[in-house]
Symmetry: C3
Subunit: 271 residues, 3 copies
């Protein structure tokens, strides 16, 4: 796979043919390209979860064309974007609903952006419900083949783009007021608190209390799962630099009944 | 990925090693090939669903070798096939249970077909339960490497092949009598009615009634999800040209309790 | 995909970005490599299931670098390994928890092994919870690029490595005392009995009885699913050479309430 790299994130799942068909369209448009499936299990239509995953993961991929489709407004008035980041010249392609910007900001922000909704490379007839196939994949393929952004759409100003409000945890008076952001396969629950905030709240090994949904539970600040007893709840800095909740050998999400958006408070506790 | 293209559809799912092992067998047999996973989430042993997905998706893939395995009769008397289509010279490989023919018919029908059950390239010892690995993947790899059909099996007549009966919706007297065909990840329910039949029944925006399982529900003909209110049921022409039911921001399958094969009637309604 | 081959097995699932990020790290470290996803649906933290799948599947893959990560002890004291097998010079990379050894033994055992926990190619800062990304993928990429084992870690003796206890069925007095090992997508239940043991117990077509969880059920020894009536329970030699339980057109796992580790006894029965 020495060809140009295209990464691909979506909420299409792996059960249907949506991802495979987009691969087909990319292979037709850019025969030498290497496509990496970054993630397709973003919860359906959860733009926020997609934006967070793309932001955190992008730096681990080679620079290339980064296709991202979580698109509840498909077929409606939302714009379709291709943008280039200020550093590393990464090119991001996807809907204008906030999905791309948190990732772009990790690479200096948006240096150039075009509206590709009417791109000359889009497939015709255009469906109203599958722009991943008809708009975004053909544009990504053309970019992988070396097309310039300006040849694929009409210029926009970065200030015009739709932005998401992402919550941020707050630390004061020995309390970390946070929200659940996402849950992974192992039942680990990622918070909107940074590992730094966690370190300010508690040293490794310290006893804490977690308040969530009218319940208060003991937990422990730890470096990794195996630092606590089997079945014990812990909070740790995850591999992306975020504070996260886990149960050693179990599922924190199942224990807590955690859903994205829920508020939670971590407090210091006497051991 | 400049090598020959192999696409791969199955009901193997992504949880087990079935798909990965077939990739391995293809890589051994055709080291330069590029494999695109079209879909592996076909419901287990649902030949009809596999046939429909392959038929609708194939045109979006580059021409190549198209491996498809949904094979409830594995190890029994059913034949194993490799065929070439009349147009685009696509090569399809899979069991003789009707899975391949609807796709082949989109490309002019079957120009040549051979029985590869005893193919010289099949793996030995031959298992009785995993012909994807032992028969179909080695045959697909040999074809990707450039082998002729005639070198891999014994000739058959196209008229001998097993055909599926696929239902078709009927429109008369302002009623569209249809069946549910499949459900996708977003809970959209595809009907066996075409977008043309839907357009004949109702203009965009028209109020309709859906009768299914002794319930009658209002719905609206629309172009895309966002054309109706959140939570509202709609019927639209999907990205493959079929009429489909959806709920904006929700799941039509969950709302309706829809299963493949169910009958449903769409009628005009006073607004 | 003419580049070096890397296969990848894990319990990461396909819902999150874990697999995609590891692909990105491999693409950065070994731009020409071809990555085959062998399986990522190993039940979370089930080292035994991962070991069994890797052992059975590896021979179907081209020789290359074989990355395997099922790693409940990540961030703790367990070592990280890269090893070379005595035959075929396959290179296996993963945690020192028994995951790799059953596969290595199929290829003559361990010819050379190094501890790569402090490998010069690992990513910094090192996370405590995602060594797939930070340790194992970079090591696999370096090996795919042609690095020597000795350049990536410190030598270990094969005798020092952690081994799993895998159960084995016993056959005596016309009884096959076995355990459930794993369940696949189709609900087939693999036993720790070999096809040879099954053949010694019963000829094809023979009636048997299955005792499990205080229930006794009739079943039949058969070659494949279609050899028994729809809905009937059978035991067959599966595609990997193991005895397995299935229901023709149904799910043996659902019928039996089977979980890995359960004991079961198969006995001869008068027809």
């Amino acid at each position: 796979m020495d060809g140009p790299l295209v990464s691909f994130l979506s909420d299409y799942g792996h059960g249907d043919e949506f991802v495979g068909v987009c691969h087909g369209v990319i292979a037709r448009g850019a025969p030498g390209a290497c496509v990496i499936d970054l993630a397709h299990g973003i919860p359906p239509q959860d733009v926020r979860a997609g934006a967070v995953v793309l932001r955190d993961a992008l730096g681990y991929l080679p620079a290339g064309v980064h296709l991202a489709v979580v698109d509840p407004g498909v077929g409606g008035a939302r714009r379709a974007l291709a943008l280039r980041t200020a550093t590393q010249e990464r090119v991001l392609v996807g809907p204008d609903n906030g999905l791309l910007l948190p990732a772009a900001e990790r690479f200096g922000g948006v240096a150039e952006v075009v509206d590709v909704g009417d791109s000359p490379v889009r497939l015709e007839p255009l469906s109203q419900t599958f722009h991943g196939r008809d708009v975004f994949a053909p544009v990504a393929a053309a970019l992988a083949r070396g097309a310039a952004l300006a040849a694929l759409g009409t210029p926009l100003a970065a200030a015009e783009l739709v932005r998401l409000e992402l919550t941020e945890a707050e630390l004061h008076d020995g309390e970390l007021r946070a929200h659940f952001v996402r849950v992974d396969r192992f039942g680990n629950v990622v918070l909107d608190a940074t590992g730094e905030q966690l370190a300010q709240l508690a040293r490794l090994g310290s006893p804490l209390a977690l308040e969530h949904a009218d319940a208060v539970r003991p937990l422990r600040a730890a470096g990794t799962f195996a630092d606590v007893a089997a079945g014990e709840l812990l909070v740790y800095e995850d591999a992306w630099g975020w504070a996260a909740l886990a149960v050693n050998g179990g599922s924190a999400a199942a224990l807590l009944g955690a859903s994205p958006g829920h508020a939670a408070v971590l407090r210091r506790r006497q051991s």
